[in-house]
Amino acid sequence: MWFSRLLQRLFPPAPTPAALYLYLALAVVGSIVIIVALHRLLGLRGRRWLIAFVTFIAGLFFGLEYFYPVHGDPGKNFLSDWIEPVSVMLTVVGAFTVGLGIYSLLQVHGRNLARRRPGWHNSLAFFLATFAMLVFGLWEHYLHLPQPPPEVVPWPKGIYEILFNGLFAPLQAATFSLLAFYIASAAYRAFRVRTGEAALMMAAAFIVMIGQVPVGAWLTSFIPADSPAAFFRLEMLGEWVLRWLNTPAQRGIIFGIAVGALAMSLRIWLSLERGTFFSEQS
């Protein structure tokens, strides 16, 4: 793989730990110099041009690898070897954005707490929960327990399990399961034969719903499964609606979305997009 060889050549690994830290320090200083230089040297137009250029190159790289002719087996072109390492690098860079959201949360709840706004005790609960999960999550990670874990678990792991399996996971599952109630009440209220469209929607929902559960199969089990009328067994009818009425409609939507997303991607890639975020004068 010539890409990793190139990396090795450009950035040879540091020979000793001391050299490593020297290299790291130099790299940081160097980067800062470059960034400051960019900021100083580029005018408004230069910056906009640079942003458009970076966007274009990133899109071109991933797109071109697919469309450029390939040879050999498995088929490769001059970009194929780059896809994996570049993808990993982008993943790592993206991971560093995690602080953005956390910062916003800490700011809002910190302010609630500092000013003793109504409901400040909830913000306190927020801080305790965040802090506990952070501390015990990392602690548990660095316990380096053997697998499978021993019978008697050390207490930091115990606390982590209470936080995760006793609170986090059940809160997630319980919130999700609220939907059972909401869907029942939405079905009751929404499915009225007020208009033709509502009636069609109701009829389809009705058939699919009952066709899916054993009681539906049981209701029409008097129709023999090998007779021409077997189509009217509720479970068959439900599957037929999903397969022959639902599938083409879904696909019609999918093609529209595909073209819509292609257009939006193109506008972004070529920096043609106008409107929010893109029009800003900075």
């Binding site: 390939v70 088929g75 919130t175 819509g260 997303a261 070529l270 975020f277």
Partner: protein, 261 residues
Amino acid sequence: MGSLEHANWFMRILFLSLCAIIVAGVLLAQRGREMFIRRIPGLTAIEEAVGRATEMGRPIFFSPGLDSINIVTLQALAILSYIVRLAAAQATRIIVGLRSPIVYPVAEESVREAYDAVGRPENFRPDDIRFISDEQFAYALGAVGIISREEVATNFLFGAFYAEALILTENGRALGALQVAGCPEPTQIPFFIATCDYVVIGDEYYAASAYLTREPTLTGSLVGQDICKAIVIAIIALGVGLATVFAPEKNFLLTWLGGGG
């Protein structure tokens, strides 16, 4: 044949033509060519929904969906910006609830910009742009909390939504909020239809910002998209015709598209 690992000549030509048509539409419109867009029902309701909040003197809640910065979310932010301009002009408060840390600063910037644009920068409240949680259902609970504590009059949900959508809209409905929702993916549309007052379906979502802003770049792109869709229909029609006449192994269109392997 039958591999889609890399493109073949048919795909290259097709892809380039689709791109060229869209870009041509954009460029033509930017040069001032007038383009027609039909009425999109759910979107005409936005003004009414903002007006209702103003009348009742209660805030608006907006969610740009759960995705990080991507194509869908950028579209949601464009709609947000339009709504904020409407609301700001009527001095109505708007609260934005976010799930992605990366979207947070971008959304804040868009809202601030919109307040500046209508000349009411003093009405912008940074606290109303809130990161709720990156966990899907923690986000849902947090958003329901905001909707009920702030007694919002109108709920706007535009963006990528998943299972949590019904938690938001059913609670919003129970509290009597007027709700307008839009999502490109079809999964949550049935629930929006059941619980919201107006719904924007599928591709209409991508047409939304063009319809609302009448920005030439967007309308031009929309016309280009229509031509592309017509091409897709033509390909399907041709493929169906060929499939009716020939056996699958003789259907060259199938092979060109990487199928029949």
